[in-house]
């Protein structure tokens, strides 16, 4: 199946000279939930805004369901719903006026029952005649989601959907995203919360300083995370891994002063005990031991730090 979104060599340089995107290549599969992680100013929102038509790209191109987002913008944009990061609303307009406007704006004929369902799913139905200014922040966020869904998009962008949102709404939001995915909607979300990406995403991309530094299946990423590492600090530096330790996943650090043993605690092998036994049989003395398990957050931080 062709990707629902293809991003090719996408660059963006703002008038100020700031290079927000430096050649992004990314394919989003149809029906997946893709989480885009990255620190503030990494280019997440710029990337989304280009796909949605709010920002013009400097170079490269984006296809949404096979349609170029610049040249064939009508076909591309009609498939995309966007929930932006910033809460914005026409203060005096009612919720109902807002969602009917959005649907019409995207060229869809009026469909009351559908909009009623959208509002009910988001617990907004009893607020439909309330002016936007009377709603709480969380409610406004729901309205923005309702507006994005009002024209039945195939692709939904959620830019920091849960920033500043209470726990209950966050859970509701996750629930909603899952049910949308069940209906075949492709979802791309950006977030600061690693937990959110872990909970929701099928794949995770990490963006930093305008570059995608990692794109991976979440399950593959989690497998890496599931591994633990034991670091053995040696009394005397070694030049190579002793032959007796060949049965284990052991590496020697560059300076030869540490042995690093990576293992999967869930596999049931008696890793550490047998390694220790072998070390003493080989007469290798050590000063200290330490184990660690990296979280997604650590991987994320180290990736971001390592990037130039």
């Amino acid at each position: 199946m062709p990707p629902i979104i293809s991003i090719c060599n996408l660059t963006k340089t703002y008038a100020s000279g700031f290079q927000a995107l430096k050649g992004i290549n990314l394919e989003i599969h149809s029906g997946e939930i893709f989480a885009l992680l990255g620190p503030n100013g990494a280019g997440k929102t710029t990337l989304i805004n280009i796909v949605c038509g709010i920002v013009n790209p400097t170079g490269g191109f984006v296809l949404a369901d096979g349609h170029d987002v610049v040249r064939d913008y009508r076909a591309a944009r009609s498939r995309i719903g966007l929930v932006p990061q910033e809460l914005s609303s026409n203060a005096f307009d009612t919720v109902w006026a807002g969602v009917t406007f959005s649907r019409g704006l995207f060229g869809k004929p009026a469909d009351k029952p559908y909009l009623e369902k959208v509002l009910k799913d988001l617990s907004l139905w009893d607020k439909k005649n309330s002016p936007m200014m009377t709603l709480s922040g969380g409610m406004k966020r729901r309205v923005m989601i309702a507006k994005a869904l009002s024209h039945e998009p195939q692709i939904l962008f959620l830019d920091e959907p849960t920033a500043g949102v209470d726990v209950e709404l966050r859970r509701d939001m996750w629930e909603m995203v899952r049910s949308l995915r069940a209906r075949g909607v492709t979802i791309i979300l950006t977030t600061h919360y690693i937990e959110e990406a872990e909970q929701m995403a099928d794949r995770i991309g990490v963006i930093n300083k305008g570059e995608l530094i990692l794109v991976e299946e979440k399950s593959a990423l989690m497998k890496k995370l599931g591994k633990k590492q034991l670091t053995v600090q040696l009394q005397h530096a070694l030049t190579s891994v002793p032959a007796g330790l060949a049965g284990h996943q052991v590496e020697l650090s560059a300076d030869g002063e540490e042995l690093i043993y990576t293992f999967d605690p869930r596999s049931g092998e008696k890793g550490i005990a047998s390694l220790m036994k072998q070390l003493s049989e080989l007469g290798i003395e050590f000063k200290d031991l330490q184990t660690n398990q990296s979280s997604l957050e650590e991987i994320f931080v180290s990736l971001v730090r390592a990037a130039p």
Binding site: C52, N56, R77, A97, F101, L105, F106
Partner: protein, 262 residues
């Protein structure tokens, strides 16, 4: 790709959505939108028509009270068109809701038709209400009703486009007020709303001919009384030129994404 998605198809649903959304705001603020111009027009008639006008001789055989009617209507239509349209596009920019317009599958022509159409409709409606109000104070006939309506529509459309440009250009409320206050108000007052430009000394008459509002008021007055300061053809041509300039600027704005797409 379905036929509906072909690039050149007009998104009527989107135009309709923008137009009615804007008109809904008009309905919500109906009282201010109508009462205040009607009140100020009535005041003009009391002051200029009754109090001062009775001491001014008829101009070209038209009583002063009736003479100022077309000018007053134009004055309101002009300022209201600009303020309606500039606010309509400035506000979404200010509040951030413009993202929705920018990410919608609509061409800029549809956006302009929606916003400018609504702004012009409002001011045409207002012009007609003022006309009806004026009729309560003075009697007059409209010599060329079709031309009267045409001038009204043309002016409302042109200046709504102009307002749209101001709304996009303005990056703060001050700028939004600046152009109407510093440029439009003087132009309208010096545009022959309250006098015939023949009454001016020759030098000032020549200066006045650079004021586009003169042509609007003159042409509009012709449609009422069959007399004008400048020829009707020239009035139409000048309005057309201004309309064309506004269209060209809007074309440029959307082509370059000026103040809309970074």
């Amino acid at each position: 790709m379905s036929a509906q998605e072909k690039r050149n198809v007009v998104a009527f649903e989107a135009i309709r959505a923008i137009y009615f959304f804007e008109m809904a705001r008009f309905r919500r603020t109906l009282l201010q939108s109508i009462v205040s111009p009607v009140l100020s027009t009535s005041l003009y008639f009391v002051v200029f028509g009754a109090a001062i006008g009775s001491r001014i001789a008829a101009i070209d055989g038209v009583s002063y009270g009736a003479f100022i009617v077309p000018g007053l209507i134009m004055l309101s239509v002009l300022t209201q068109s600009i303020s309606n349209a500039s606010f309509a596009i400035f506000f979404p920019k200010f509040s951030g809701t413009i993202y929705e317009i920018l990410s919608a599958p609509v061409s800029y022509i549809e956006v302009v038709v929606g916003y400018v159409g609504a702004a012009a409709s409002k001011s045409i409606l207002l012009g007609l209400i003022i006309l009806a109000t004026a009729r309560l104070f003075v009697t007059f006939d409209i010599a060329h009703p079709v031309w009267m309506l045409s001038f009204l529509v043309l002016t409302a459309a042109t200046f709504s486009l102009f307002g749209f440009i101001i709304g996009i250009w303005a990056d703060g409320f001050e700028k939004l007020q600046l152009v109407p206050l510093l440029i439009i108000t003087p132009l309208t007052f010096l545009g022959g709303s309250f006098y015939s430009i023949d009454m001016l000394p020759p030098f000032w008459r020549t200066v006045t001919l650079f004021n586009p509002v003169v042509y609007l008021v003159s042409g509009f007055r012709w449609s009422f009384f069959g007399r004008s300061d400048v020829s009707v053809g020239l009035s139409l041509a000048m309005t057309g030129v201004f309309l064309f300039i506004c269209l060209a600027v809007i074309w440029w704005i959307f082509r370059t994404g000026y103040r809309l797409r970074t």
